[in-house]
């Protein structure tokens, strides 16, 4: 056990699994870096933000494969390799680049098993960074997990801390289905205590990061921390919140969410993805259908506006959910007065 960053935790998950299982390989653009360079230095980058650093040195070119800038072919290759005996962890760098390889994810990897009548296994992990807050502008700041969650056949993981990241990534690598593993780019330097050994966190089991009586907050990834910050403040004002980190959007731990709403009767969902057809909508609909009678107030969503992610810091901050917006939403549902007979 020692303090590890989100980056280190993810790196360690891959390293341990590569040691454990020779079929685990990693690939992606500059996951080592330096191939074909004039200095002869390999593992020059270890990923564009250094997440795979050192893996090339330990596992060599047969298991750490740099790729040309050709997402369709290498993500497809990862899918094909997964269906034929390897367990690839492919890095898509920015999740925004899924536009260049969606077919291989959506129509190939995700559908093999079903289309082939249950006869295929595709133990593929696709890692990508997502999210706003880095001034990376419209093409490098999207969340996009609703797209993946929408597609049957995929599993979708959004770790909210270093500890979560390590356990969930090891689970993802050992899982026999295609998994999209999304790392918030603003979190790579976040630190917390993380065990040195391998451990897994099962999919579809939400983490109750705090329990309260008044309002249930569901949040994803980086938003979990913000939700807890808001809950801290609210606590001091006498409002007690449950904060749920679902960990995986697909499968989704429906029961925990429904149970908590049954207890609190109020729900706020925090989602940094674009507002239409997103996870906030997905969970709201679940609750409005399955826990309707428990609801004492409208379901509030803390979500960005329906715009691309803007570049300027000042706009990006306005765009993103934050603790103040969450706090306001919680107060709004607490203050809700029924205006009409239900």
């Amino acid at each position: 056990m020692s303090k590890k960053s989100f980056r280190q935790a993810i790196n360690e998950a891959m390293r341990l699994e590569m040691r454990r299982d020779p079929r685990v390989i990693i690939m992606g653009e500059d996951v080592a870096g330096g191939q074909g360079g004039s200095s002869g230095v390999v593992d020059a980058w270890g990923g564009v933000l250094g997440v795979t650093k050192g893996l090339y040195t330990e596992f060599g070119p047969e298991r750490v494969l740099d790729t040309p800038i050709t997402e369709a072919s290498y993500i497809g290759a990862a899918a094909g390799a997964a269906a034929t005996g390897l367990r690839p962890v492919a890095e898509l760098m920015f999740v925004d680049f899924v536009g260049c390889c969606l077919d291989q994810i959506m129509n190939q990897a995700a559908k093999f098993r079903y289309m082939f009548g249950g006869k295929a296994r595709t133990p593929l992990v696709i890692r990508a960074m997502f999210g706003a807050g880095f001034n990376a502008a419209a093409q490098h700041s999207q969340a996009l997990y609703p797209l993946f969650t929408h597609i049957p056949g995929l599993k979708v993981v959004i770790p909210s801390s270093p500890y979560e990241a390590k356990g969930l990534l090891i689970e993802a690598i050992r899982d026999d289905d295609p998994v999209i593993f999304l790392e918030h780019k603003v979190m790579y330097d976040d630190e917390e205590e993380v065990p040195d050994e391998a451990y897994t966190i099962p999919f579809g089991e939400a983490n109750l990061t705090r329990e309260g009586d008044d309002v249930t907050i569901v949040a994803f990834g980086r938003m979990v921390k913000l939700a807890n910050e808001a809950a801290d403040k609210l606590e001091r004002q006498g409002i007690s919140c449950t904060v749920i980190d679902p960990r995986t959007t697909s499968p989704l731990d429906r029961d925990t969410i429904l149970d908590c709403v049954a207890d609190t009767g109020r729900l706020v969902i925090v989602d940094e993805s674009s507002p239409r057809c997103n996870m906030a909508a997905d969970i709201s609909a679940l609750v409005a259908e399955e826990a309707f009678d428990a609801l004492k107030a409208p379901i509030r969503r803390v979500i960005p506006p329906h715009t691309p992610v803007p570049f300027a810091s000042v706009l990006e901050s306005l765009y993103l959910p934050d603790a103040a917006k969450i706090e306001a939403a919680v107060k709004a549902v607490m203050n809700h007065k029924v205006t009409e007979a239900a």
């Binding site: 298991r63 290759a77 899918a79 082939f116």
Partner: protein
Amino acid sequence: MQIARETLLRSYRAMRTIRDFEERLHVEFATGEIPGFVHLYCGEEASGVGVCANLTDNDTISSTHRGHGHCIAKGVEVSGMMAEIYGKSTGVCRGKGGSMHIADLSRGMLGANGIVGGGPPLMCGAALSHKTLKDGGVAVAFYGDGASNEGSTLESLNLATVWKLPVVFVVEDNGYGEATGSSFAVAGTQKARAEGFGMPYMECDGSDFFAVYQTAGEAIAHARAGNGPVMLHVHLARWYGHFEGDAMTYRAAGEVAEAKRDHDCLELFRKKVTEAGLLEHSDLDAIDEAVRDEIESSVIAAKAAPLPGPADLLADVYVRY
């Protein structure tokens, strides 16, 4: 070229099976009983069979929307295929895939594919498995002249060279992508494209089993020996429409007739092997008859087979969820 008698018999049988399978589908489709899209491989049999005669179950292939021929050539069981096309629970994919998604991983057949250009990236991956696991296998991506323009295909040519993968890219060039001629849609040449991505290029007449068998053999041997990818360009003609129901007004009246008359791979095979004294007409006639029976009973069985049930709808989306 020396070819074992066993290989000749098996290859002829595979080609005949494809032919009869497809022509029977053509007839059955017209009755309206077969659902969905059906794309026939008829006329192109020697390509799939000539290539796959160089492969074993340890090797992997990917196919296209026009996949029945590759499946049969790679050893997928015919009655399971027929049942699949009829959407029955006895189908190789339990009725959930249909004509465009027949697969059998135990045979190294990673699926027909409804997406043009879907297969080449997958075969880079299969080749990577073979290379990494050091199992001696090669991967073969079959795709059409139309698919040769897709970005996913072109990227894969590059990736295969960069990673020096044991993969053979077989461009089955029948001159058309749907209703559009390759003389319109394919700029430059396949040969120059192979060079553009640093790989050897070979080509052959796809109606001549022996030409395909030998050229593919060289290509596959090259890849298998660890020398990297090869492009194999096979010249073909398709005998039916793009899919069943296509009136083919874009093709000149005599085009298909000529292909049938002068480039029937089964006729050419029979002529060659009998003239060379490698097989007797009676050997081939016996196969013809056996195949006729096999197709007939596969259709009867498919029609009689049970439909999938409600549990099938939800099964097998995930290994575990």
